[in-house]
Assembly symmetry: C2
Homo-oligomer: 340 residues x 2
């Protein structure tokens, strides 16, 4: 049976301001290659022998962006009338394809080793077919505090484990401990399961979400491949993540650890880590002139940027805005957003 990709495009993308904005969040920007991360996500599930046309769950304001970046490719658009986090978003897709095997993926991640991802999917499929809710756990290479962790439990098969427990974003000490154990992986927000298994788990653990989203889909309007769930019903759903609402409570949850060059590109520092530097250590995009400048990430969508004697800065120009900060400060972009 072919897998139905479910691409979640719900992020508001403020952490990559000023390039990423609520009207044009990061998944629709060509930040890591000539293709956008949304297009890279599509390409990852582009083999028609293996994957059906994707279901895209997105903010209604991004419809035009999505249709432009689909470039004529078949897809079903499920346009959220309001943001209610991942549990209701995935429920929309499950109700749209209730007999399918769903591969749920964020639209704004980078995977540099797609073959490893496909192998992990292969390992997961039998368990998802058998009714397990399968997560993909990213093998950690640093004590990151920005991700949730999953502790591996007993093995179900080669490379597939029961989930022992989910761990919320840790502090630095706890992250270092988990990295040292070797049996914790990052929760990357990628899942494989049968739609009916997910809906059954929702019925058990988050019945209000299931009821609201079911009502919204039963009264949805559809134009071609674009589905508009009914707004008031959808808005009545509790807002919750699939992790909290379902996975931490469900009985049969599995995890497939995978090392696939994954990044959530969650900050300019994360993007800098992905960039390929020139001989000066700089990663430059757009109209940039450097003198005695090293180890900088500089991107411009139009302005001409000239630098002299800089070391280790991130400089991002977009539209009428320019952001300047040392690498390592990217988490403070939110402080700028608050001030604006």
């Amino acid at each position: 049976m072919r897998i139905f990709p479910v691409i979640l495009s719900g992020g508001s993308g403020t952490r990559l301001w000023p390039m990423s904005t609520p009207d044009h969040p990061k998944q629709f920007l060509p930040l890591t290659s000539e293709d956008t991360m949304f297009q890279q996500t599509l390409a990852r599930v582009g083999d028609p022998r293996r994957f059906a046309a994707p279901l895209i769950v997105a903010n209604a304001r991004h419809q035009a962006l999505i249709e432009a970046q689909l470039g004529g490719r078949d897809a079903t658009l499920l346009l959220e009338p309001a943001a209610r986090n991942t549990a209701p978003a995935i429920a929309l897709a499950a109700l749209a394809a209730p007999h399918a095997l769903l591969l749920v993926m964020p639209s704004d991640h980078v995977i540099t080793n797609p073959a490893a991802f496909q192998n992990a999917i292969d390992a997961a499929v039998p368990h998802a077919d058998a009714g397990w809710l399968v997560t993909f756990g990213i093998s950690p290479d640093a004590p990151e505090t920005g991700y949730g962790y999953i502790q591996l439990g007993d093995a179900l098969a080669a490379g597939v484990h029961q989930v022992a427990r989910f761990v919320e974003k840790p502090d630095a000490a706890r992250a270092a401990e988990m990295l040292a154990t070797g049996d914790h992986v990052w929760n990357g927000g990628i899942f494989l399961f049968r739609a009916d298994a997910y809906l059954a788990a929702l019925a058990d653990h988050a019945p209000e979400i299931l009821a609201a989203v079911t009502k919204a889909m039963n009264t949805a309007t559809r134009t071609g491949a674009v589905v508009h769930p009914e707004a008031a019903a959808f808005a009545a759903s509790p807002s919750d993540s699939i992790d909290y609402a379902v996975l931490e409570k469900a009985a049969r949850v599995a995890v497939v650890p995978v090392s696939m060059g994954w990044s959530d590109v969650g900050s300019w520092d994360a993007l800098a880590a992905l960039a390929v530097p020139n001989e000066d250590g700089n990663a430059l995009t757009g109209n940039v002139v450097t003198v005695d400048t090293h180890n900088c990430l500089i991107k411009s969508d139009g302005l001409r940027i000239a630098t002299i004697g800089l070391e280790g800065l991130t400089i991002i120009a977009a539209g009428n805005d320019i952001l300047i900060m040392p690498k390592g400060c990217a988490q403070d972009v939110k402080k700028v957003i608050e001030k604006l």
Copy 2:
């Protein structure tokens, strides 16, 4: 007798790129106050009891800027058809007002203590009336290598000295020596002399300049208060500074040392030194948002600049250009200009 101010507006202003450009050099920008340096220069000689309407020697391409910034004030414009340095430029003014006492000033300097300047003029007038070519020497407060120096000779009167010698821009060691002697001042390019005394000195020491400029003025066209010296004749003049062509050779050259808060605003570092910082040590102009940022000079004429965690940078946005460098690197702006 009233003094005729001669305002020289010949600089191309590349050292304050990107705000200053050949079409809009620094004297026409409000960099140090709400008034431009050109307007500040006009105001310095604005007392009609003491000063006649100014003679402005300028690049013809700046006529509209000058007329706008004059704001209806009387002035004679002497529009240079080509740049030939200060000796020919001042000769234009001397030939336009051959019986006047001329106070020659660059249009792009800052003087924060204008009363001290007026007192220095008072001290200089009797000697200029007597036929001396009088320079104003800026009392040095640092071993600057970017200026020429003048060594004080015998006193002619209180606060007025013969010039012992002119010294070209020194290296750092020589600058420190001169600062230590206490009898050297900076050559600020400000002069007071009778027009006929200057023309006589030109005849003695730079007759080709005098001949060319005389021919250009004899065949000039005049429209109202705007004089266009004849282009071919003026272009035939040697290009030389008043210092080299006349002052270093003439017999009766005097210097009036003065401490008047002078700056030639010759670089972004010089401008940073003039700026009044806020409580974070930052001098901010325009649409700027700072987080954890200290001791920076940030100016924008339109773009919104956001900074996080920066220390001691100069950031200048003008039009479609932005320049970013540490304070202390301003002399390297020319390297950027070469690359563009």
